[in-house]
Amino acid sequence: MKLDPTVVARIQFAFTVSFHIIFPTISIGLATFLAIVEGLWLKTKDAVYLQIYRFWLGIFAMSFGVGVVTGIVLSFEFGLGFARFAQIAGPAIGPMIALEVLTSFFLEAGFLGIMLFGLHRVGPKLHFFATCMVALGTLLSASWILSANSWMQTPDGVSIQNGHVAVTNWLNVIVNPSWLYRLPHMLAAAYITGSFFVAGVGAWYLLHGKHEDFGRRTVALGTAFATILIAGQVFLGDILYGTMLRYQPSKMQAAEGFWEDHSQSPAPYYWIIAPDQAHQRNRFAIGIPYLGSIWLTHSLRGQVNGLKNTPPDRQPRMVMVFYGFRIMYGMAILMFGVVITSLWLRWQGRLFTTRWFLHALLIMTPSGVIATLAGWYVAETGRQPWVIWGILRTADAVSPVPAGALLSTLIAFVCIYALFITAFLVFTFRMIRRGPELAPAHAEASGSLKNALRPQVMNNAASSHPALEEQLP
C-alpha cells in the first residue's frame, strides 16, 4: 500500500493541533476565571473565593502544562511536516509567533511559578498581579496566534517575489481582514468553555450534597458568565459569518450543505446530509423548512449559494465543513437554551435546588471544548485546498520526508498524547472527587513585597509561617 505523504502529514498535524487546542481553550478560560476569583477574594475577604481559587488552580496547572508541551510540538511541526509552508509563510507568520513567544509565553512562564508556588512567598497583591499576568499572557498568546492563523485565511500585507513572500506592510499582515472578527470569537469560546467547566463541577457537588457553599458559588459564577458570553458569542458568530462569506465564500457554501448555484426558495436549514462530493450532490438531506432563508439570508424566501459556485478543484470537503459547523452551532443553541433556563430558574430563586437543571449543567461541562474543536474544524477544513488562501495549496506545502517516517511518528504522537490525556482526566476526576480543601483561617502570605525579597524571610517563611504550620500534619 502506497501511502501519500500529504495525507499522513495532514492527519498528523490535524491530530496534534486538535489535541493541543483543547488545553489552551481551557487554560485561557480558567486563567481569567482565577484572576476574577482572586480579585474577589482580595476585595471581599470571603474565604469561599480563596477555596475556589485553590481548587481550580490545580486543574489549571495541569491543563496549562499539557497545553505548553503540545504547543511546543506545533511550533516545530510547521517545519517538520510542512517545510514548504514554513519557507513561504515564515517571513510573515514567523515574526508574529516570535512576538507571541516574547510577549506571552515568557510572561506566562515567568509568573506561573509565582502563581502556583508563591502563595506563601510573596504578598497577596504581588500574587494577584502574577495571576493577572498569566491571564494576560494567555490572552496575548491567543491574539498573536489568531493573527497568524487569520493571515493564512485572509492574507494581506505581502508581495510574492519569485516564489518568496516579502512583507510590505506589517499592519496589514497583523490586522488582516479576518483577525479582528475571529479573535473575540475565540476568546469568547475560551471563556465560555471555562464557565461551563466551572458550573458543571459545581453542579456535581450540589447534586451530591458536598461542599455546598463552593458548589453554589461556582454554579452562580459559571452560569452568570456563560449567560453574558454566549449571547455575545452568537452575536459575534453571525458577524464573523458575514465576513467569511466575503473572503472565503467556498467555506460558507460548504458549511450550509447546498450544492446548486442557487438553492431552492425558501431554503431549509439542513441538519443532516450525506454529501457526495464526487457527484456534487447530497444523497439525502434533512432540514427545517424556511429556517435556512431566515438565518442565512435574513429574509423569508432568500436563496443560498451552493458549493457548485466554486470550481471543483478549489472546493473544500463539504462533509467536514458542514458537520463541523453544525456541531459548533448546535452546541451554541444548546448553551443558549441552558442559560435561558438558568435565568428562568434564577428569577424563581430555584437555581441551586432544581436537580434536573444541575444534571443538565453536569452534562454541559465539556460543551465548550466540543464547540471550539468543531469551530476550528470549520476554519481549517473550510480553508482547503489552500494552506495560505489563494497563495499556497496544502498539497504543495509538504516536507520532503518519507510517508513511513510521518506515519511512525504519527503513531508515536497518538500513543504519548493518549497517555497525557488519560493522566489529565484521571487526575482531574480525582481532584474533583477529593473536593476543595477548607481554606486556612488566615491564608495570608509572608508579607509585603519588600519583605518578600529579604533572603532571611524567604528561608524562614517556608518553615515557620503560621498558615503553613496549620496545614502540616
Binding site: A220, F235, I333, T353
Partner: protein, 64 residues
C-alpha cells in the same frame, strides 16, 4: 395557591421563557438587522444582570 395552580403558572412561565429566549436568539444573531441585534444583545445583558441579583433558596426544595 394550590399545587395545581402553581404548576400551571410555572408551566405558562416555562413556555413564555422559552419563547422569549427564542426571540432573543433570533434578534441577536441578526435576523432582523445589525442595529436590532445590538439593541437586543444589550437588552438581554441588562435583563440578565438584573436577574443575577435575585436571591436563591438554600434548602433542598421538596417539589423538585
Amino acid at each position: 395557591m394550590s399545587r395545581t395552580e402553581i404548576s400551571a403558572m410555572r408551566a405558562t412561565g416555562v413556555v413564555i421563557a422559552n419563547l422569549l429566549g427564542a426571540v432573543f436568539f433570533f434578534v441577536i444573531i441578526g435576523v432582523f438587522g445589525l442595529s436590532e441585534a445590538i439593541v437586543g444583545l444589550l437588552v438581554f445583558v441588562s435583563l440578565a444582570l438584573l436577574i443575577f441579583r435575585r436571591p436563591q433558596t438554600k434548602e433542598h426544595n421538596s417539589e423538585t
